[in-house]
């Protein structure tokens, strides 16, 4: 926000604005910027998902809208959803029903406040940044349960309950896997963690030691479950629950759930890229290659690679059962992540 505030000072007579406007304008601008980036990224991710899934299944995917490989397909879909009727079923809890999509989206949206897109392109640098991401990211559970409950539909409620059980279970291994990075970085601030990984690929935390590499895998698996993606998509298992917690939603509210799902994907991919893959830092050290690529480009490149892996996994694995899901979280990922944190701590201590 500091950099945005500095940019805003270039507006002529900015100092003459009322104090309240001077305080609120940077916030508003950063919100709009994050929303715009997120919306564009989601549009692209949905298109990419459709193309990747299609090609893995030997199909072509969208090919017509917009000309080149159907690049405008998701744009057209978003417009269509905007124009559709917003149906609120008769026996719903109207207030909760209408609020739920925004709360689900808020969880992903608010967490982006601390994600550093580049050396100076971040909204704010909280000293407890990663804790904030974990805390705010779990806000979406509230929205999902609200949606499931307010819909007054058994499938929605099943979906909401499953989502709650799943997300809360998987937050524990993912948070402990994050600790494996926090120990060597010595800080909870996202900016500090990225700064600790400067200087090329060998300084990224994934490649620092084998414990952190395994922690990355643990985090990746747990984050897949946190964003309800296949193979952990039992909250929205089409074959069992119609569509899960958003069965009753239509039009723009459904679009918001969709947006939140993909924004969450981006969030976990950004966190993984920031913590383990060096965020916006360069691939090669300055002594080997000139550092020409700007930070945000590198950041989004890393995020896209992770998102591609998420999609790749989604279209190669079947859905796990509920008991298998809980087994994986409590009996596999949790003990492994605890051992990994111990290992990282053992290596971090200067004996």
């Amino acid at each position: 926000m500091e950099s945005i505030a500095q940019l805003l000072r270039l507006i002529p007579k900015y100092e003459a604005f009322p104090q309240l406007v001077q305080a609120l304008l940077p916030m508003l601008v950063s919100c709009v910027l994050i929303f715009a980036v997120l919306a564009l990224a989601v549009l692209f991710a949905v298109w990419l998902e459709r193309k990747v899934s299609a090609h893995i299944q030997d199909r072509l995917g969208p090919m017509y809208v917009g000309g080149w490989h159907g690049w405008a397909q998701t744009l057209a879909d978003a417009l269509k959803l905007l124009l559709k009727e917003d149906i609120v079923p008769a026996s719903t809890d109207r207030i909760l029903y209408k609020m739920a999509p925004y709360i689900v989206f808020l969880g992903a949206f608010a967490a982006f406040v601390v994600v550093p897109f580049g050396a100076s392109s971040f909204v704010t640098d909280l000293n407890i940044g990663i804790l904030y991401v974990v805390a705010v990211g779990s806000l979406s559970v509230v929205g999902i349960i609200m949606a499931g409950w307010a819909s007054n539909n058994k499938y929605s409620l099943y979906g909401g309950m499953r989502a709650a059980a799943q997300i809360i279970s998987y937050e524990i291994p993912s948070a402990i896997a994050i600790m494996a990075v926090v120990i060597p970085a010595g800080s909870l601030s996202m900016v500090e963690i990225v700064n600790a990984q400067k200087g090329g690929i060998q300084n990224w935390f994934v490649f620092r030691n084998p414990f952190i590499f395994l922690a990355f895998i643990v985090y990746f698996v747990a984050s897949l479950a946190e964003v309800n993606r296949t193979p952990f998509d039992i909250p929205e298992a089409e074959s069992e629950l119609v569509a899960g917690y958003h069965t009753e939603y239509s039009g723009m509210r459904f679009a918001f759930f969709f947006l939140a799902e993909y924004a969450n994907m981006f969030l976990v991919a950004s966190v993984a890229a920031t913590l383990f893959l060096g965020g916006w830092t360069q691939l090669l050290p300055a002594s080997i290659a000139p550092q020409i690529l700007p930070g945000p480009v590198l950041f989004f490149g890393k995020v896209l690679v992770l998102i591609f892996i998420q999609m790749w996994l989604r279209w190669s694995l079947p859905r796990v059962r509920v008991d298998q899901l809980m087994y994986l979280s409590w009996k596999v990922l949790l003990p492994i992540s605890l051992v990994l944190v111990l290992g990282v701590g053992w290596l971090a201590v200067d004996w």
Binding site: V52, D58, W312, L313, L317
Partner: protein
């Protein structure tokens, strides 16, 4: 404890295996044919829309007789003695003037029985498979070109024989 780690390893290996399969399919040629721009090549001898080469038709009516769904309507008259002799492309003399040769493709069952008795091989099944129209009557294909000389042709050509 040992089975736990064995299952863990097995799970990891199978996940990587399936990812490998998905990766291979990501780069294989997709089987989709983009239909309106690219069209299927029908195999030879496909039984699609009927076509009658009316110049070769001698109006014998064997096709109409054999048709199980009565979708072919033929009306003919004798050619006059003073008219010049005309021949089909295989040399058969055409003694009848076919002034109605209608095929109702909505009734056709694509059995191709009508094509076998045709003495001049003028009635064939083509590979044309796109014939959606706005009006059902457009599925009645009129092949006759001649006008009757002695009989007045009915204005609306109906395929119903009853």
């Amino acid at each position: 404890m040992l089975t736990y780690f064995r299952n863990l390893g097995l799970g990891l290996v199978t996940v990587l295996n399936s990812m490998g399969v998905a990766w291979r399919h990501l780069f294989t040629r997709s089987v989709t044919l983009q239909y309106p721009t690219v069209k299927w090549q029908m195999p030879e001898g496909s039984r699609m829309r009927l076509f009658n080469k009316i110049e070769d038709c001698i109006g014998c009516g064997q096709c109409a007789r054999v048709c199980p769904t009565d979708c072919i309507t033929i009306q003919t008259e004798k050619r006059g003695k003073d008219e010049p002799e005309i021949f089909a492309s295989d040399g058969t003399v055409i003694k009848l003037r076919t002034y109605v040769f209608d095929i109702d493709m909505t009734r056709c069952c694509y059995c191709a029985l009508c094509t076998f008795p045709c003495p001049t091989l003028c009635l064939v099944m083509t590979g044309a498979y796109e014939y959606s129209v706005y009006d059902k009557d457009e599925h009645i294909y009129h092949f006759a070109k001649d006008k009757p000389l002695t009989i007045k042709a009915p204005k609306v050509l109906s395929t119903d024989k009853a």
